[in-house]
Amino acid sequence: MAIVECRDIIKYFSVQRGYLKKGAGVVKALDGVSLEIEEGETFGLVGESGCGKTTLGKILLGIISPDSGEVLLKTKEKQAIFQDPYSSLDPKMKVRDIISEGLILKKGSKTRLLERIEKVLDVVRLPKGSLNKYPHQFSGGERQRIAIARAVVTEPEFIVCDEPVSNLDVTIQLQILKLLKEIQEKFRITYLFISHDLRVIKFMCDRVAVMKDGKIVENRGSKEIFTGPVHPYTKLLLSSIPRIF
């Protein structure tokens, strides 16, 4: 059963062309995007920078409204993990307050706050002493664990992971990806997994949609895409993977 669905999403941004040229240009961030994400799967979204991946994620989460098209989200328990853990954690808040924010905002989950925070800290393998520290006292990988803890503590059913490992060292990338998989199995979470790194997509995803200029050009099972790409753009992307793996 699909937990998230969207049909014919269109989102244009108007941009100033500069001081001298009059009038505004339009960026077609999303130009008729439809997709369905099944419960419990990891749905990959891949494409070059600026093709509209982040915008689509934000529309599915309801913090940007599309110009037209409809979004069907069958759960209220949604969360996001962002690319830049330096921007995604409030620098003026202690880890304790960062992780508990979602619980405080969610009605009826203020009981046993500390117990729940400590439990989730265990899940992401951060020491208990982290609670009274500020984000700048952690490394990039640790910060991403804090962001994951914040997302998981509210017991979400759907998480948008927007390039969650792009800013991390390769060794740390694998740790974080494994952690995300582990969490998915433990809590039965559906992921929309955004990345421009095909190796990461191959490791994580059950199905993959390939995006180009605000459109989905190919949308199939992960195995099929990696063994027999159909669209020329997908072939181009695949041929650009470094052959180390």
Partner: protein
């Protein structure tokens, strides 16, 4: 705190403000005389052992009047700035976060307010209301919030694009929650600098008003009206104007030093350079 002790000028400013604060808090203990006590035997006497900063035209002790006057000057600084920071943060954060029409309306309103030179605006308002201490604090506060509003709006415009704001919205936070919990705590730094500088400014405005005779009314001593009392006898009794003048000057200077140090502290680039240099 450590930083202040590294920066000598800021430390001097900090110590001076602390002394003035002690004057204000413990005025009855520190003052050598009753500030209102008229002593007809020692009118206009210069600095001496019994009156260390001399006496005024009614024989009142200048030092004691300055000590009590610090209560007025400091509280005007604090409360006027408190009012302007409160209003500035309120309008600035709403304009910055909500943007669009609300932003345009607030920004046009600020532009209109900025058209009037603050001091003349204050003069005009004082002509209409009685110049009580509270009114003066309120008027200074109500006419000086625009800069703070602009400052906080500019900060929020960049802050609200950060991912932690998106994260909060995804978790269901409303505008008021985001503004109070995330935006204001992150935007408050430059406002503190501006507020510290503003305290000096407010003291200066009060002194100017009192000097013109439309500020704090006698017999309540304020640094401004002590200075005004000395205006007519400037030629014969310099201590009546020089001492309160020095206190005004040093306090404003101290606030400015503190504000500048705070600015350096909060400006990441400059501080980073300093760290590199000190290594």
């Amino acid at each position: 705190m450590k930083y202040f002790f590294k920066n000598r000028l800021a430390l001097i400013g900090f110590i001076f403000i602390t002394i003035i604060l002690a004057f204000a808090l413990f005025a009855p203990k520190i003052a050598t005389h009753n500030p209102a006590a008229i002593d007809t035997k020692s009118i206009l006497s210069g600095p001496s052992n019994s009156h260390i900063l001399g006496t005024d035209t009614l024989g009142r002790d200048i030092f004691s009047r300055i000590v009590y006057g610090s209560r007025i000057s400091l509280s005007i600084g604090f409360i006027a700035v408190g009012i302007s920071v409160g209003i500035g943060i309120f309008f600035g954060s709403i304009a910055g976060y909500y943007g669009g029409k609300i932003d345009s309306i607030i920004m046009r309103f600020i532009d209109i307010c900025l058209c009037f030179p603050t001091f003349f605006l204050i003069l005009a308002v004082i002509a209409l209301v009685e110049p009580s201490i509270f009114n003066i604090m309120a008027i200074i506060g109500l006419t000086s919030w625009m800069g703070i509003a602009r400052l906080i709006r500019a900060e929020i415009l960049t802050l609200k694009e950060r991912d932690f704001i998106s994260a909060s919205r995804i978790m269901g936070a409303r505008g008021s929650w985001i503004i109070l919990r995330h935006l204001i705590p992150n935007a408050i730094g430059p406002v503190l600098v501006s507020a510290t500088l503003g305290m000096g400014g407010a003291i200066l405005i009060e002194s100017s008003l009192s000097f013109l005779g439309i500020g704090v009314q006698p017999p309540t001593p304020s640094w401004g009206n002590i200075l005004m009392d000395g205006k007519s006898t400037l030629g014969v009794a310099w201590w009546l104007t020089v001492f309160p003048g020095i206190f005004i000057l040093l306090t404003v200077l101290a606030y400015n030093l503190l504000g500048e140090a705070l600015r350096d502290l909060l400006e990441p680039r400059i501080v980073a350079n300093e760290r590199i240099e000190s290594k």
